[in-house]
Symmetry: C2
Subunit: 283 residues, 2 copies
């Protein structure tokens, strides 16, 4: 496995692979890898000749007062996990090589990011798509795999790729959960034992919504009330948002549910903000 720190070296590596006719799968991460990330690598591994994972805590996507400085890091552990998942290369750049002096061209997103997490994290998704596009240009993948825990991020990246005709196939991978149902996240490391226990209500509430929907409930208000009540029964959880939105446009759904809908939520436990979601299905 090649450890590559220099962006120009990453591009050479990718160009050489491509010139040998090899296809490249890419898993961009912020590191502190858990089983969710490893599941993305396995999906990528199966879809291309070469697998590249990047580890980069991207300052552009953190707002003022967010957890950039304390975001958990474990370079040695991350490299061992990449090696054991069969990565051919790990790209480990630093902010000063990704954003050297004079850097000034960015991407900005649109309507998809004025809602949900975008509403409370201005500029966050602009930072996400900027770094994703730059990473794509350096790694030159045929296919890139993203988790769907951050449902809005997956939609925003998919839209960016469509809007700018980026020649990369985007694959959304299922959410991986701990026993008990908590969605895996590097930020789970921040949770105290009581918070972690109460955070199980998130996935339980999504399951409740799915049960109601499968039983024929089509009134968003009824489903949302049940979800909110279940979460509010946990004294340590503070709801940021709980919404039923169009699965592609992320616009809130008010009338009877007829289009594909996803229940998305963000809940704070102390200083830790957790997100989760579930696309509602007939059965």
């Amino acid at each position: 496995m090649d450890l590559i720190r220099d962006p120009a070296a990453m591009r050479r590596w990718a160009s050489e692979a491509r010139s040998r006719g090899e296809s490249i799968a890419f898993v961009p991460t912020m590191g502190y890898l858990h089983d969710g990330h490893l599941s993305l690598m396995r999906i990528g591994r199966a879809r291309a000749d070469r697998l590249v994972t990047s580890v980069f805590v991207n300052p552009l996507q953190f707002g003022e007062g967010e957890d950039l400085e304390v975001y958990p890091r474990d370079e040695e552990g991350d490299l061992a996990k990449c090696e054991s998942e069969g990565c051919d290369a790990v790209f480990f750049p630093q902010p000063d090589t990704m954003y050297p002096p004079g850097f000034q061209t960015r991407l900005v997103t649109g309507a998809l990011t004025t809602v949900l997490c975008g509403a409370s994290r201005p500029g966050h998704f602009d930072g996400v798509v900027t770094v994703v596009l730059k990473l794509f240009n350096l790694v030159q993948p045929h296919v890139a795999v993203f988790g769907s825990k951050d449902y809005q991020q997956l939609q925003v990246i998919t839209r960016m790729v469509r809007d700018l005709a980026v020649p990369v196939e985007i694959v959304g991978a299922p959410i991986i959960r701990e026993e008990g149902g908590l969605a895996l996240s590097s930020r789970n490391a921040y949770l105290g034992p009581d918070e972690r226990s109460q955070a199980l209500a998130l996935n339980q509430s999504l399951a409740l919504a799915q049960e109601l929907f499968a039983a024929g409930e089509r009134d968003p208000g009824v489903i949302l009330a049940a979800v909110r009540a279940h979460i509010q029964a946990q004294p340590l959880g503070e709801i940021d948002y709980v919404q039923l939105v169009d699965a592609e446009e992320l616009t809130p759904l008010y009338g009877p549910l007829v289009r594909p809908a996803v229940l998305v939520l963000a809940v704070r436990f102390g200083r830790t903000r957790l997100i989760d979601n579930r696309v509602l299905s007939e059965s």
Copy 2:
């Protein structure tokens, strides 16, 4: 020569060429092609196996009240010129296929576009780099050729490519001038005979600046005063800006000239705004 109107078809064409191991040179234009454009095609032709020219009057880079609706067009003439210059493909998309409903991801530029033409055309260069990046993703060129009459545009595109690590080599081509020295521009078609005659002062004033510089003058104020006086002697010309700026950062130069400098100017003749520039050289 292939005439391609559909973005997806353009990408297939490019992917097939690349998979045959062919290199691609690209000349993006807004059409109404003149000898300046043809000179770009010749440079591209010499640098790659395949030559693609695009013709797209990009609405994103026109501001309110600008000349989008009346921008000169000549599809038949453009195609004939591309054919005779040996283009392998001409990409002729329409606004509704480049920017379909739901389009919302754009690029934004930084300090380089707060000055010169960017100061009087807010959003213009954001629209330029957005369409250039999308065209790059569709045409997948190894090298792209731009004229240097719009010096700021060339620098902004070069910076975008560097900032986002776009795998395309940018080539800046020399300004092509009519007999008499007027820089070729599709917008010259708007000029009346008196305006056209007085517009020769632009290139004359640049030559004057170069003479002064070569003779040892290093005071920006002296050079700028001479240039302004020469242009102001033409009653139909109204100066938008005349500046001496750093050749790469485009920041105004105040002290004695020690770094590479370019004299850039924009002058209105009636409703027509002309731009021109000259990098000052020792000899």
